[in-house]
Structure formats: structure tokens, C-alpha cells
């Protein structure tokens, strides 16, 4: 009967499957919600959502779908209305009442709430008995009582222990910027074991050998396997200096994460300043002299290296398209980018900066041009994951 809830969840990007939906229905059949709406909420969440980063999405969808149902049992609408406009009545904090209220347990408070709703017929703010705002009673909102049920309003003193619809899992949302650990986990996608490829069988499989030998009445019979090693090789080219200084922390985290993930067969780092030209720097300082020819790099690295370019793609247009005094008469930056990209079979661009292309913005011209050349992803959890997946797909 509420199948549309499933489709709402799915349209919000929650990957709820039929299995989970049937499980929920089974639970409802068993009457596991005890006819309580909050039990129902927690049941739905623990069955349908499998990551704390999706709690927020779920809360949003849940509120949207059940918005016409009052979270706190039967609270009259006019009561909700005045509760949502708190008026502070300062100076009414009463220690004695606070202490007494603390002794009340959850069930007792709920029972009291039901009694009060039955009795109460008008607005009460700043008091210590009725449901109201800014007071010392155990219900209402914006109050100073140490515990109780919040009824409507914003959580000002963060004390009500049953806060419905607060969506306090916002921080876990997946689009936040990465830390090193998350990066390392993401980088583990870059794995391709040689057991899956057609490498020669060179490693002795001891278990199988003994097993075979045992079956062979003790006469030695050797069994070989393909070695199980990661065959992925990675080359990183990082923009350094200038506008990239804003993202230095983020980039150094990525650098650390890459260095720490020692599962690559090979990992190479090169740096460039704004655009790639005929030389790549070997360290992040970009000091002339500490460099190698870009052509040499391309000649020595085979095309199965996975190329990751990190940069904000923001530079003066002449740096990319030529025409400045700086790079007069040389191959343009964009041509170098083309050359590098076409050398490797798999490449992605990770952008720590703003990726919105704004027409007419001087520093954004180059971004648009480079987005046409490279698959560009933002340097966030989701962005990095999609980028790394892109590096692993077969063409």
C-alpha cells in the first residue's frame, strides 16, 4: 500500500532492493513496530539503509513521504503552530525543577505529555508545567529543562532526547572532501590480479601439491599457480604552485594516500606548473633543472600505465593555447596534454577546485578546453571513486 515510498527512496538515490523491501514487509507483517511511528522509522532505516552516509537522504525522503503524519503521536495543529514560534523568556531557570525533571524516565514523560495534551487548551511560554516554549517543563521547545520531549521548533539547547526530523546525519554525506584514509580505501579499487590475466604459472601451490602428493600415495606431484600480484601501474602528474596553493593540503593528502598504498606494481610522480610542456618536473617545487623531458617519460612508460592528472585547470589562456612571450614558438600546452593523453590507454583528471565552467571568466576558459580532452572528476569521495572506476574499465 505504500509501495510508492520505495520508489521515492529510489528516486532519491538510495539503492533499496526488492530483497530489502520484502524484508521490511515481512517485519511489518510480524507486527514489529508495536504500532508506534518512531519504531516504524527505526525499523525502516535499519532494514533499508546500509550506510550512515545515506541516513540523511533517508531522513529527507522519510519526512517528505510521511510529512502529513505527526511524529509525536497526536499533537493538535494549533499547538504545533505556537510551538514553532518560540519566544524566549529568560531568567526562569530553576535548578530544583531541573533536578526533579532529570529523575523522570522516558516513559513517564511520554505519559505526562499525553495527559497535558488532553488538559491544555491555550498557549504557554516560559512556564514549567504546560507544553510551551522557553520554559522548564519537560515538553515543548527552546526550553532549558535538562531533558524531555521536544515538540516542534528548532533544537536550540540540544537536550530533548527524542528529536524527530532533525537530520543530524548530514555530516556523513558522501560528497564531502576526502581524508587520507578514505582516499586509500578508494585507491584499492585500482587492483587487477595477475591470476585473472594470462601470466605464466610460476608459483608453487603448496596445499594443492601436498594434496596431490597425498592422493598419489606419497609420490611427489607438483602443482603450479599464477602469482597473485597487482599488475596495475600508475603515473600521476600533478599541477603545482600558483593557483594550486589553495588545494595544497588536499593534494598532499592524495600524495600520501598514493604513496601509502603500496599495492601498485609501479607508481610514478611528475609535476607541472599550470600546463604540461616539453619538460616535467620531478619534484613539487618545480625548480628548473630538476626535470625530465616529457618525451622521455612517454617513451619509457608503456601505455598500460594508468594516468592520473591532478590540477585545477585554471590558468591564463595563453599558457594553454600559446601566444604569450613565455612559450613563444613552442608546442602549445593543449597539444602536450593531447599527446600525453593519447599515449596512455586509461587516463582521468582529478580537479580539487571549482569545476563549474563560467563563460567569459578569464581563468575558466582553460577549464572548458581541458574538460573536452580529459574525463574530469572533482576530488571528493564520489569523484575519486568514479575516476578510479573509469581507470579500471576495459575499453
Amino acid at each position: 500500500m505504500f509501495d510508492s515510498f520505495l520508489y521515492l527512496l529510489r528516486s532519491k538515490g538510495l539503492k533499496v532492493s526488492m530483497t530489502e523491501w520484502m524484508t521490511l514487509n515481512e517485519a511489518l507483517d510480524k507486527g514489529m513496530t508495536h504500532a508506534s511511528f518512531s519504531e516504524f522509522y527505526y525499523l525502516c532505516r535499519s532494514v533499508l539503509v546500509k550506510s550512515e552516509s545515506e541516513f540523511d537522504k533517508f531522513d529527507g525522503a522519510f519526512l517528505e513521504f510521511f510529512k502529513d503524519i505527526n511524529f509525536l503521536e497526536d499533537i493538535p495543529e494549533e499547538l504545533m503552530n505556537w510551538l514553532n514560534k518560540p519566544q524566549e523568556t529568560p531568567g526562569n531557570y530553576d535548578e530544583e525543577i531541573a533536578r526533579q525533571n532529570l529523575k523522570l524516565d522516558y516513559e513517564r514523560i511520554e505519559q505526562m505529555l499525553r495527559e497535558r495534551i488532553a488538559e491544555q487548551d491555550s498557549e504557554h511560554n516560559g512556564g514549567k508545567y504546560w507544553v510551551g516554549t522557553g520554559g522548564m517543563s519537560v515538553f515543548g521547545n527552546s526550553g532549558k529543562g535538562p531533558n524531555g520531549i521536544r515538540v516542534g521548533g528548532e533544537s536550540q539547547h540540544k537536550r530533548a532526547f527524542r528529536v524527530a526530523g532533525e537530520r543530524h546525519f548530514k555530516d556523513f554525506s558522501e560528497d564531502k572532501v576526502l581524508d587520507t584514509r578514505q582516499m586509500q580505501i578508494a585507491l584499492r579499487t585500482l587492483r587487477q590480479y595477475s591470476t585473472k590475466t594470462d601470466a605464466p604459472k610460476t608459483e608453487l601451490n603448496i596445499d594443492e601439491t601436498i594434496e596431490e602428493t597425498g592422493n598419489n600415495a606419497g609420490r611427489l606431484s607438483l602443482v603450479y599457480d599464477r602469482p597473485r600480484k597487482n599488475t596495475v601501474k600508475v603515473v600521476v602528474m600533478m599541477d603545482s604552485g600558483g593557483s594550486m596553493d589553495y588545494y595544497r593540503k588536499l593534494c598532499s593528502q592524495l600524495f600520501t594516500a598514493l604513496r601509502k598504498s603500496n599495492h601498485f606494481k609501479d607508481l610514478k610522480f611528475y609535476y607541472f606548473h599550470n600546463s604540461i610542456y616539453e619538460r616535467l618536473y620531478t619534484d613539487g617545487e618545480c625548480i628548473p633543472g630538476r626535470w625530465v623531458d616529457t618525451d622521455t617519460v612517454l617513451n619509457t612508460l608503456s601505455s598500460d600505465y594508468k594516468l592520473i592528472i591532478v590540477g585545477d585547470a585554471a590558468m591564463a589562456p595563453y599558457e594553454l593555447f600559446g601566444g604569450g612571450y613565455y612559450n613563444y614558438g613552442k608546442t602549445n600546452g593543449i597539444d602536450w596534454f593531447f599527446k600525453v593523453k593519447h599515449h596512455f590507454t586509461h587516463s582521468v583528471w582529478l580537479n580539487p577546485g571549482e569545476m563549474q565552467y563560467v563563460y567569459g571568466n578569464y581563468w575558466r576558459e582553460t577549464l572548458g578546453a581541458l574538460q573536452k580532452v580529459f574525463d574530469m572528476y572533482p576530488l571528493t569521495v564520489n569523484g575519486l571513486e568514479s575516476a578510479l572506476k573509469k581507470l579500471m574499465v576495459n575499453r
Partner: protein, 281 residues
């Protein structure tokens, strides 16, 4: 299911469970699905299984997962080396393969006559594919041993609790079969209860000072490794042993080395204390 069902969990003497957590445990038990518990280190994920076992009066089988653990290890191990040795010396029973098949933790839980609690601890430590390899076994509660031609089937469906530190994403197919619960870091109120479980006679004033200081330290943005429950317990131990008066706890935050494990974090705290905004001046 009624609330007074036999298999109903409501926390135990030495474990303070939040209401949501108890709800999740009861849902998982009633629906016969594995319960997946995620949360910050030190929020008591492993303790939960012990407490559930105690509360329900059931045996606890713990399967600790390491980075080298394979799904197979949990089912059974076929000791080929022992068989080879025995074969060399012509010992009796070499023909009997079943003699060399030893059940793993999952097998142990399945073959127990009573219903047991099976804790699969830190499942994310293992290889990415590990959870997928257990799908069938956890769904059907049975597995087949080709060496002996035997099928091990759960006599009593165990209550499965799985913990994860969120080091790796778990596969979707696996997640679909689980009931999920995320343990949030306890708030001050719950933390005071937890501390009281460990120190029943603690002075209220000391407790208030300790939690205030502790949550202040946790709130500092510069702190890289936030202290967890086990650290506050150790800290209270240190504070009570040294007999530092309660009013100095927030002011000085003594023995910060007990709650902060990194030099940078201790320096960050020192800097925070020197700031004019330090709340406990």
C-alpha cells in the same frame, strides 16, 4: 512478536545500549538476518555481541577477521599436511578424510545443538571479496564439504552479529541481506551512564568535570585522533589514582597523554588551552 519475547535484548549490567541499538538487535533477531554494526572505534561494537549473548543467555562464538582471513577458514580447514605426514608413516585412518577436516568458527556455530551468537568481528579487515564469499552460507545457514561429501547445516539458526570499522566498502549484495545499525559516539548523558557502569562510586562532580573536559577535547577541530570511550575510562583511572582535585580537571586537563595518543594532538590541546576562548578558565 511481543515485547516480552524470550529473545528480546534490553542491554545488560555492564553494557549501556542506546534505545535505537536495542531496537536494531531485536529486529535482526526477529527477522533472522545478520546484524551489521558500524561505528567509530571505541563505541563498543565488539562488546555488544558479548552483552547480547549474556542477556539472552546464549553461547558466544567469536570469529576474528584479519587481513589474511579467507571465507573458507570460517567454514572448515582440511589439514592436508597432517594427512601427508600420517601417510608417510602409514598411520591408521589416512583413508578417512573426515579425520582431517576441522570445522571453523562458522561451522562450529552451525553444528552447535543450542542456538548461539556468532560474532564476525571487523569483517572489513579482510579482502574486498570476503563478505561475498559468505553470502550463501549466511543466507542458507549451510555449507558443503566436498572432501567428505558432507553438508553442514545449522541445527539452530545462529544470531549473527557483524562489526565493521568502515575501512572498506562492503559489497551491495552482502549489505542487502543485513540489518544495519550505526553506533553514534555516545552523547554526554549516555557517556556518564557508561562511566558509571565502570566506576559505580565515582563522585558526581568529578564525573561532570571529566566529561566536560573530554567532550571539549573531542570538539577541537585540530585533534586528528579523537579519544574514545576506552580512553575516558583510562583517564578517570589515572585521575583518581593521582587524586587530583576535581576543579583542576577542566582547568588543566592533566594527563592529556592518556586521552591523546599523538604528539601533534597534545600540542594542539596546549595551544587551545592558551587561547582566550578556552571555556574552563
Amino acid at each position: 512478536m511481543s515485547k516480552d519475547n524470550l529473545n528480546s535484548f534490553s542491554g545488560s549490567n555492564d553494557y549501556v545500549a542506546s534505545e535505537e541499538l536495542m531496537r536494531a538487535v531485536n529486529i535482526a533477531v526477529a527477522l533472522e538476518k545478520p546484524l551489521l554494526i558500524k561505528g567509530e572505534p571505541g563505541t563498543g561494537k565488539t562488546m555488544l555481541a558479548q552483552s547480547v549473548a549474556k542477556a539472552l543467555g546464549k553461547k558466544l562464538v567469536i570469529w576474528n577477521i584479519k587481513s589474511t582471513t579467507k571465507a573458507q577458514d570460517g567454514l572448515y580447514v582440511y589439514d592436508v599436511v597432517q594427512r601427508l605426514y600420517d601417510g608417510q608413516f602409514g598411520n591408521a585412518g589416512v583413508d578417512d578424510v573426515a579425520k582431517y577436516v576441522k570445522l571453523g568458527k562458522l561451522g562450529e556455530a552451525f553444528s552447535d545443538d543450542e542456538q548461539v551468537i556468532l560474532l564476525i568481528d571487523e569483517i572489513d579487515k579482510a579482502d574486498i571479496e570476503f563478505p561475498n564469499d559468505l553470502l550463501w552460507e549466511l543466507d542458507r545457514m549451510e555449507f558443503y564439504i566436498p572432501e567428505t561429501g558432507e553438508t553442514i547445516k545449522a541445527k539452530q539458526r545462529p544470531i549473527v552479529i557483524i562489526t565493521s570499522n568502515a575501512e572498506k566498502e562492503l559489497p551491495d549484495a552482502f549489505l542487502r541481506r543485513c540489518i544495519f545499525h550505526y553506533i553514534e559516539f555516545p552523547n554526554e548523558e549516555l557517556m556518564r551512564e557508561i562511566v558509571k557502569v565502570h566506576f559505580p562510586d565515582i563522585d558526581e562532580n568529578v564525573l561532570a568535570q571529566v566529561t566536560a573536559a573530554f567532550y571539549y577535547v573531542r570538539s577541537l577541530k585540530e585533534i586528528q585522533k579523537k579519544p574514545s570511550t576506552s580512553e575516558i575510562i583510562d583517564w578517570i583511572q589515572a585521575l583518581t589514582l593521582s587524586g587530583i582535585p576535581a576543579e583542576r580537571i577542566t582547568k588543566e586537563i592533566p594527563f592529556a597523554g592518556v586521552i591523546l595518543k599523538k604528539n601533534e594532538d597534545i600540542d594542539a590541546l596546549e595551544r587551545a588551552k592558551a587561547r582566550s576562548l578556552f571555556p574552563f578558565k
